[in-house]
Every structure is written in structure tokens, then in C-alpha cells.
């Protein structure tokens, strides 16, 4: 069966056919859950937030004017729902240590990360991401993992494009600082 456009299913739902929402959920559930998981870091919370987001989307489908794509609009709602969930739980994120790296130390860390095996690198990256703030994790995920342009991220996070670039820069730097701490800690342990 030929896949129809998002606009088709949206129109069907608005006309009074709720089952037409299922193909939209099926199409975007992985992306929604992935973003939610990056923010909440907890599977149960991520599922709940993603499901809540879809319900919010369903309730306000009539208001979707098509100014942004449906995907961007959905991501916006997933982002705000997941962030609210995290803030509601008042989860603390713990940095391993407060590192401030020089340019050369940053480059050193990047090289060191590049030398690791893919498995080890993923492990360290995941650990380092956990110590970032939810918004920082979200922005890195959207830009590097989901490959979204800055303008789209700006719409999702309700920031200006220049603010997104600044936050990206800071989040990236913080990520490498955390990686530096992790790798340094492992080296110290090995010694």
C-alpha cells in the first residue's frame, strides 16, 4: 500500500477518523522516543513523555497550520513534554568534575577519543552525555544524531538560531570536558 503524506492523515483525523493517527505514530515513534530518552535518561519516563506528546499532538491537530513540518512540530512537543517531566522530577545531573580545558587539552581529548574502539567510545560518550543538562543532551542529539539544521532546532527549542549555535558550542565543549575527565579517571585507575 502506497504511503500517504502526513497532510493526508492529518486531514483524515481532523475530519473525524481517529484511526488515521496510527500511521503518524508508527512513522515518528522512534524519533520521538529517541529524543525523549536522551532528555529523561529513563526508559519508563521516556515512553510516558513520548506517549503524552503524541496525545497532545492529537488534541491540537486542528491548530496545525503547516507553517513548520509536522515532524518539527512533533519534536517541539516531545521536547517540552520531556523537559517538563525531568524538571518535575528535579533530577540532578552530576558532572564528574568541573574541567576547563585549554584548546590543546581539547584537541588532546578529541585525539584520545578517536583512538578508542567504537564500543569503548560509545560507552564513554554515553557516560559523558549523562552528566550534561537535559537541554544540552537534547541539542547535541538533535544536531549530531538527528542531523537537524540549526533553524529547525531553533523552532523546536524556541530559541533564536544564534542562541542555538552558542548552546551547541557550549554543550560540545562541556561534552569534551566530561570525556576528558572520564578518560583521565580511567588512566589514573589503570596506573
Amino acid at each position: 500500500m502506497e504511503a500517504k503524506s502526513d497532510a493526508y492523515y492529518i486531514a483524515e483525523v481532523v475530519k473525524g477518523n481517529p484511526e488515521a493517527f496510527a500511521p503518524l505514530v508508527e512513522k515518528y515513534k522512534r524519533l520521538a522516543f529517541s529524543l525523549s530518552m536522551k532528555i529523561t535518561r529513563n526508559r519508563e519516563d521516556a515512553e510516558e513523555a513520548a506517549q503524552d506528546a503524541f496525545i497532545k499532538v492529537y488534541r491540537s491537530l486542528e491548530n496545525f497550520k503547516g507553517g513548520a513540518t509536522f515532524k518539527t512540530w512533533l519534536f517541539r512537543i516531545v521536547y517540552t513534554t520531556a523537559i517538563s517531566k525531568v524538571r518535575g522530577k528535579k533530577l540532578d545531573f552530576v558532572s564528574f568534575e568541573d574541567y576547563r580545558l585549554s584548546e590543546s587539552e581539547l584537541m588532546e581529548t578529541e585525539n584520545a577519543v578517536g583512538q578508542l574502539s567504537a564500543e569503548e567510545r560509545s560507552y564513554q560518550l554515553r557516560k559523558a552525555m549523562e552528566s550534561l543538562a537535559p537541554e544540552e543532551r537534547a541539542i547535541l542529539n538533535l544536531y549530531y544524531f538527528e542531523d537537524m539544521p540549526v533553524e529547525e532546532i531553533a523552532t523546536i527549542m524556541e530559541l533564536s538560531a544564534s542562541n542555538v549555535k552558542i548552546k551547541l558550542f557550549r554543550s560540545r565543549k562541556k561534552l569534551y570536558e566530561q570525556l576528558h575527565g572520564l578518560l583521565k579517571g580511567e588512566d589514573a585507575f589503570a596506573e
Binding site: K15, V25, S34, A46, Q51, Y58, A118, R121, Y144
Partner: protein, 143 residues
């Protein structure tokens, strides 16, 4: 040269991080995720959007235009083929119909427009063009 080197280095760093992030597995939702969402959707009140239809649809307008065009063409052809007194009785009565009544609204509009100043008409035209350009931009470019 140094600026180019810094820019290239920066791009390479971005590419590296992008590649590292892409190595991370994508978390998958539970197998019954869609079913759970749809269960909740079915509890919601069913939507019933008011679908607004124009009084005269586009297709009907098209038929009206074609009808009028055929009528006008027919009148011209009949005059050509059966000019003046040689035409049959039915066509004679047809020629006696005063079609200028159809032109009256256009004449009234033309008279009204002549009273308006040129800058005013120019202003309305400019605003219309800007609105049209904005609509076209929103529809085709800013997606």
C-alpha cells in the same frame, strides 16, 4: 591562511563528533507503543471539523465561464452566418435582445474607478502584489 586552517579544523571536529554520535545505538520504543497511544486516542472525543464549501465550486465556475463563452461565440457566429433580414424569425427576435444590459455593471465599475486617484489605485495594486508574493513565498519557498 590561518583562518582557513582554523575553519577546516573546526569542520573536522564537527564531523568527528557527528560520526561518534552516530555510533550510538538509537533507543527503540516498546513493541506496543503505537497500540498504547491509539488506546488513549480512542478515549478522546472524536473530532468533527466543520468543512466549509464555497457556494459555487471552482468546477461550477468553470462551467459558467465555458457556457458564457460558448453563448457569446454562438451569437457572433449566428450574426455572421445569418446577417440582417435574411435570418429566420427566431434569430430576428434574438437580435432584438439588448445585450448592453450585461455590460452595465462593468461600465459602472469603470466610471467609479475613474473617480479614484492614480496613487490610490497604485497603492492598492502594490499591497496586492506584496500579499500575493508573501503567499507564494510561504507556500513554495519557506518550507
Amino acid at each position: 591562511m590561518q583562518r582557513l586552517y582554523r575553519k577546516n579544523t573546526k569542520m573536522k571536529k564537527q564531523d568527528n563528533l557527528r560520526a561518534y554520535m552516530r555510533e550510538l545505538p538509537r533507543e527503540e520504543p516498546s513493541a506496543d507503543f503505537t497500540a498504547m497511544v491509539m488506546n488513549r486516542v480512542r478515549l478522546e472525543p472524536i473530532k468533527s471539523a466543520a468543512i466549509y464549501q464555497p457556494l459555487i465550486s471552482r468546477q461550477l465556475w468553470l462551467k459558467i465561464y465555458i457556457g458564457l463563452a460558448l453563448f457569446a461565440l454562438g451569437a457572433v457566429l449566428l450574426r455572421t452566418w445569418f446577417p440582417g433580414n435574411e435570418s429566420p424569425e427566431l434569430l430576428q427576435s434574438f437580435y432584438r435582445i439588448d445585450f448592453s444590459i450585461l455590460l452595465k455593471p462593468f461600465l459602472l465599475l469603470s466610471n467609479a474607478l475613474n473617480k479614484l486617484s492614480l496613487p490610490f489605485i497604485g497603492g492598492i495594486l502594490a499591497v496586492s502584489v506584496l500579499l500575493l508574493a508573501d503567499q507564494l513565498y510561504a507556500k513554495f519557498i519557506a518550507r
